[in-house]
Subunit: 351 residues, 2 copies
């Protein structure tokens, strides 16, 4: 827990001076004030994060973390567990959705095995952070031990720290884990206090029957484990996932190193619930890339007080929404830095 505590202790508030300067510049650029909407507020947030009124983004990294979920024994997913490891291999070959979108936005993808239920051959682009061979079936017992939960978060922090020498001006989070919408719905229900049925969706493609089973499984899971919403490590260990713990660590480290954290969809959102519950100072570092098609995500973002940039009915995960969010963050900073002011351009400001 030392690494987590040390990381949390290092998270500072945003830089108000840089934000005020960025806002003043936005108001003097050759456009009606506020006419670039969320791009303007985003640029000001980024200025505050990076302590610079005109920051630039060069190095972009998307952290895509994988783990398996014992709860899929209960029939809560349309895909078998093997798909988690098959998709990790797909990431390493560069053929998955996240590879395509990361290339499109000029980001590198950092793929990590946090707890996939099979063993990979060593690969130069695969970070081996395996904490366990997947989680236990959380309907029957805690998904992992308290110790494993802590190790998963610390491994996420390590992932970011190991990438710092290559440069990270902005980071995105992503996930791969068959069964992890079940886990994320459980986490969301615990923190928000919402009814399970209102935060449980169809995942990768359940039918109505499967959805009912999934709701029941989550309800039983919560009854069995009784996670304490005031104790994020307790929640993570009882109803979480190893990739979710890892993403929570990536988020904490992002905030610690003043790196804007673009969160992907529902699973990254569940990790953000863990991270912000550990430290409320994390929140200003978060950028919600999109509103997922998963039903629980809307409530989750409202609970976090985050407004998503996109709403394209995405529900793939992997960091695909985060990649698009990184593009918009970069756009907002180019506007802030490169547009001319009214006085530079000789444009009349108003009547």
């Amino acid at each position: 827990m030392d690494k987590i505590n040390h990381t949390m202790a290092g998270i500072a508030p945003l830089n108000e001076k840089a934000m005020a300067e960025a806002e003043m510049r936005q108001d003097n650029l050759t456009k009606p004030q506020g006419s670039l909407g969320q791009l303007e507020s985003l640029s000001i947030q980024l200025a505050g994060i990076k302590e610079n009124p005109r920051p630039r983004i060069i190095h972009k990294a998307i952290f895509t973390l994988a783990g398996d979920h014992g709860v899929i024994q209960e029939g809560v997913s349309a895909y078998p567990s093997e798909v988690t490891s098959q998709m990790v291999s797909n990431f390493l070959r560069g053929g998955a959705g996240i590879n395509i979108l990361a290339r499109h936005v000029g980001a590198r993808v950092v793929v990590a095995d946090m707890g996939v239920a099979s063993v990979f051959e060593p690969h130069p682009h695969l970070k081996n952070k395996k904490v366990a061979m997947g989680t236990h079936n959380m309907m029957k017992k805690p998904a992992m031990s308290r110790e494993e939960a802590i190790r998963s978060i610390e491994a996420g922090i390590d992932l970011v720290e190991e990438e710092l020498p290559k440069g990270i001006d902005i980071l995105g989070t992503g996930d791969m884990g068959i069964g992890n919408t079940t886990t994320s719905s459980a986490i969301t229900a615990v923190f928000t206090g919402a009814e399970v049925s209102t935060v449980t969706g169809f995942g990768t493609g359940l039918d109505d029957e499967g959805w009912k089973r999934k709701v029941e499984v989550i309800q039983k899971t919560l009854e069995t484990n009784r996670p304490d919403p005031k104790n994020p490590i307790d929640v993570l260990s009882k109803v979480g996932g190893l990739e979710i713990g890892g993403i929570a660590g990536v988020i904490l480290a992002g905030a610690r190193y003043r790196i804007p954290v673009v969160i992907d969809g529902f699973i990254s959102g569940a990790a953000a619930l863990i991270a912000t519950s550990l430290s409320p100072y994390v929140k200003p570092y978060l950028i919600a890339s999109h509103q997922s098609a998963e039903i629980g995500h809307k409530l989750l973002l409202e609970f976090l007080g985050l407004k998503p940039l996109l709403d394209l009915e995405l529900r793939l995960g992997e960091g695909t929404g985060a990649a698009l969010g990184i593009f918009l963050a970069e756009a907002s900073l180019k506007i802030l830095d490169e547009m001319t002011t009214f006085s530079e351009a000789g444009v009349s400001k108003d009547m």
Copy 2:
């Protein structure tokens, strides 16, 4: 009118075979079916437009058309008319919002003077398509003659045709014209039949008093001119703008040459109302980049049956939203073309 009729006659339906093939490919890519939401449907639309199940985008052009509006004599804008020409100069120097975002997405900007109320020195990057020195005050008489309306649309067609040799795989539309939200609200009211007050917004920054005046001005304009909603040339000439006619021409030519047309916000939307009223075959070629903060735009897009890709509270115009839409269109095609299929990747498709 010959050029318009000839262009309209050349607009064909989308290619169903290419769309079916693209859809089949989407369903076999390594992701749950439908999990990339609007990016999937967008890629299929683009395949149909380009008659190719795996089209690519290389050459991107944003057409930013400028014109002045006589109606601003009635005090309907927070900015003076001179800003239109000042902003055109800003576009040519590369310091405006559209320049920054176009560079960010790798698009060229084609700037055209459709009817600015001042004369520009010749400039290598300014297309001189001036039809008149701005429109008349439409509250008192028709904004332009029927002949001028036709010439503005034909000039828009010319703009696209002149750019064809450089390559246009996708195009965006954009506008600059102080007073043109007033014009666009009038056009929207005519075509949709909506109350003027429900489609009139605050433009670039009116106060409540200014908004009331703007609504009254539009109501009087419609009473004075009685534009015929069944006759788009009549609507354009009586309550339109020269840049709006030009954008309508760009849209028609886009459809004619099977170029996907990414429309920007409210003003481009008003031009799309003109273009689709001229020819219903235009509609499948349209991609709505974003939901503008201008109140009338929501109704306008619903009337056109278009779902916007973004909702970032943008209201700058110039083609800024279209630039972001072009990025998403390109993302959707890279997904379609570059992702591996389940069989290529050896990933299990389902249980």
